[in-house]
Symmetry: C2
Subunit: 218 residues, 2 copies
Amino acid sequence: MGLRERKKEKTRLAILDAALDLFLEQGYDSTTVEQIAGSVDISPRTFFRYFTSKDAVAFWFHEHGEEIMLEVLRSRPAGESPFVSMTHALRAVLRDLQDSTPEDAQRFLKLRRLLDDHPHLVGLSVARGAETERHLATEIAARRGADVTTDRVSHLVVAIAMSSLRVGFECPPGRRPELSQVVQQMEETLELVESMMRPGWDTGEPVPPADRPGSGAA
Amino acid sequence: MGLRERKKEKTRLAILDAALDLFLEQGYDSTTVEQIAGSVDISPRTFFRYFTSKDAVAFWFHEHGEEIMLEVLRSRPAGESPFVSMTHALRAVLRDLQDSTPEDAQRFLKLRRLLDDHPHLVGLSVARGAETERHLATEIAARRGADVTTDRVSHLVVAIAMSSLRVGFECPPGRRPELSQVVQQMEETLELVESMMRPGWDTGEPVPPADRPGSGAA
DNA sequence: GCGACTTATGTCACAATGTGACACGAAGAT
DNA sequence: ATCTTCGTGTCACATTGTGACATAAGTCGC
């Protein structure tokens, strides 16, 4: 890897760290791009060359996770049921998280605290997740041999899987958990979701009708 | 209702309609607040007094739906299982949609097309939905007699219910469905989700462990 | 090492979103 | 009729985000 790319990566991380610290110190809204840029001695214009927006700082983890999940998804055996494939993808993200360097772990925890303090950002992260969900759904639909534009099961598989990750990510306000605790909580939530689903729910096999409330007897 | 409030409501709807039409005509990004304001003869400043942001135009439906759902949720009998309560809340939104005036129906369909054409807005809607999900989860947790900050089942109940609504909302690109078709599709998706869940999954009863893939045999 | 190229950065200019402050005029109350 | 309330317009302003261009640093072939 050349000097250029190393420098770029260094700058990127410097911006990321500076931004996270400033956000946590003085709040997200009160922190301007100018401040962030100033604290790493770059021009505001350059900030936007590294992050497409101020919000994008909070997406960094999502984008990384999406790459991993898509990669894992494509590597799973063809016959595997979609949700099982998704759980493997999710657990790959969790493993990557656990194996990350102490620096990255710190960044992750800072990001978690930031999202804790600023629900608005959770929303934006989720919004970013919607994009991710479409990519994943496309992949899943392909595996199911279905058309992603019409096959609702594919979308639901992804939506439910991502929900478990998102719910597991949250913590009681004020908590400052260790990385391993967060990972464990995400793992537990995933297991909880797995146990909630009816066997074979994601394979498109006909399932016995459940007793539904408002549907017929309104 | 006084003249003032009637005027206000009229202005609000005028802005909404003008914004939706402009967005659909020339794209969301290419449409400025100045244009919207101009086309209903108000100052841009006044636009922001009716809608907190340009994005907020796309949230109008979400906010309406959230009110309905919270209201229904609070009116459900105490013993009812959380997810069943949520399905009633969701179906109340669907009923309200079907019973809406032709004008509101048009607005809804325009909004749907807008979200179809601009995935970015779907994201923002979902972001707004994250806010909604927290409110609903609080209500659900109260019904379960659980602490919303720790009870993951509450969050999952809401997340899964909202997922079904969101997935049912989507259409193949380019489709221009009737209102009733969209509603029917949402209803079908909800039924699909109901059939996917293991009976009693939302009541916190211990469930038999399912055969999970990566958990023990990694 | 030298020259030609690629590319990251800074500067400048600018559009657009969003907000606070203040003044004016119409709606509403007594 | 008068006083109060409140919606609106105007002005000023901060902030985010982008395009264009110049410059300097990194990269590659010789």
